[in-house]
């Protein structure tokens, strides 16, 4: 099957965004490897600009807009990291950014978005309220809507993360990412296909927001009413552009509970001394829960972000 995002699209996006992003390190941890019985290679996007991989997709999407559209600004809705990504990208491009954020988003994320000079509109923490608010702003301002995930330029930008991981560690057997709306997972699966087609792609998903799991079972997009999880970055519903890639290329979705997410997050904080947000701990929680799948393998784990509210830690 041919996908709308090609290998040369990913190559071109990587060249375009490279001056604006960090090439994040790949870390390993002996005591975690011993605990799991596998070799894990953590791609540390918590050290990325804005503290999350979303800088990649956001910057690629804004820089890919035609000049005229870009000058009217960009609008999006996001629980936080995509919001920061679009705010940063718009600031770089010198255009206005209008950001719709659920009022439940962590304070640290709201503050960061405001710090980039974006205009914030707070909404109810539902998909409907997010979409209504951004549609209204789009109409009022003429700004272009940039989906947090259901957008080929965003998917292409996110794909550069797995591309770098494969370049640094070409002999991986497996790559695993978390899944919310599906932008990172679709991008990672495409980079796996183009740069290391032998590799198996898995995802971790919170039990309370298991729309991807259900969609894979049903073969068609299946929503979850009122998704809820401590992994606040993974509550969005799967996009159709993402699902057409994911259903072909991703082997399995592993579900994990909030308790398992917090336990996994705590192990990474304590053993690796790095700060990751709950959403980011989901793939590692999935590995801990399914050790037999990963035993003896070289596993690339995408650590997606580190934007936690230190005043509201789950420990």
């Amino acid at each position: 099957m041919a996908f709308k995002v090609t290998q040369s699209d990913i190559q071109a996006a990587h060249e375009k965004i490279q001056p604006f992003i960090h090439r994040t390190p790949v870390l390993t941890c002996q005591s975690i490897n011993e605990m799991v019985g596998a070799e894990l290679f953590f791609k540390c996007e918590n050290f990325q600009k804005i503290g999350a991989f979303k800088a990649r997709g956001g910057i690629n999407a804004v820089l890919s807009l035609p000049e005229e559209a870009r000058s009217k600004g960009v609008v999006t809705h996001s629980s936080g990291n995509h919001a920061q990504a679009i705010a940063l990208a718009a600031k770089m491009a010198g255009v206005p950014a209008y950001i719709v954020m659920p009022k439940t988003a962590p304070e640290v994320k709201k503050k960061a978005v405001a710090g980039y000079g974006a205009q914030i509109t707070l909404c109810e923490p539902t998909q409907q309220s997010r979409e209504e608010n951004s549609a209204r702003i789009q109409e009022e301002t003429g700004a272009t809507f940039i989906s947090p995930y259901n957008d080929y330029a965003v998917i292409t930008g996110q794909a550069t993360c797995a591309k770098e991981l494969i370049e640094d560690q070409p002999d991986l057997d497996i790559i695993i990412a978390p899944v919310g709306g599906g932008g990172l997972l679709a991008g990672s699966a495409l980079s796996a296909l183009y740069y290391n087609p032998e590799m198996t792609v898995y995802a971790g998903e919170p039990e309370g927001a298991k729309d991807t799991y259900l969609s894979m079972e049903a073969g068609t997009i299946t929503k979850v009413e009122k998704p809820s999880s401590i992994a606040d970055g993974l509550l969005a519903s799967m996009g159709d552009k993402n699902f057409e890639i994911i259903k072909e290329l991703v082997k399995d979705i592993f579900l994990v509970s909030d308790e398992e997410i917090v336990a996994a997050m705590r192990i990474i904080w304590e053993r690796m001394k790095i700060i990751i947000e709950p959403s980011c701990a989901v793939p590692f929680a999935a590995i801990l829960k399914n050790k037999d799948v990963f035993a003896g393998k070289k596993v690339g784990v995408i650590l997606t972000g580190g934007n936690v509210d230190l005043a509201k830690l789950p420990f």
Copy 2:
């Protein structure tokens, strides 16, 4: 003045311990540089084995013991990181480790020491109780006492940290470390002298444990009664072997309050997404408090460790 620890001692120690330690990364952070008005290069010993620089001195001290002494084991007292270092070094050498820890030491540190198979004796959180307990164990077992800091092999091991930092960043104007007992500071000052003598050496110290500050003013070791600070790794009193180096080579000691330490720690957690313990935030707190001293300079900052008790965070 000639010092008892020479450049070739540091070179030899580095070769001896290299197979057992990590060469830790040097990280930078643009937003922190903008905040301070200087270029900071953070030497991340929070990523070191046992989560702290003390692995260097501990391993060097144990490996430097004559065979016969080593076989009877080693004993020490420490609020935590040196304890882990000696426990790890003894485990590597296959000899017993007897560790005296104040009962107030963080749980995470006690657990880690026990995990290396060391025998723990809990004591009162005073210098006297620490020393009495380790003297008794020394007598009972014939084990060799290894001071957390007042020991040339320990100082020489700690010196390898600044040596690596200078190798990676040869054009530093300043190096700053925290000071407790003085092992790291003395070692850092010696590496500065031998590997980049143009560099100025400073230290940060908690106001509640300012014995080094007072000792520098008086020109002789001056103790503080009942030292107290959130920086639990810096409560020990300056050793005479350390002070003979520090009084010659360190330009100034900057005092910081517990409040300033927590604020500095929080900035590093939020901006750099790495976990550091309160003691480790002391030099950065000193920089934030004395921006004029550091303005426009290239500053090496030793981040000493990341062993915090997540159940007892100060945020």
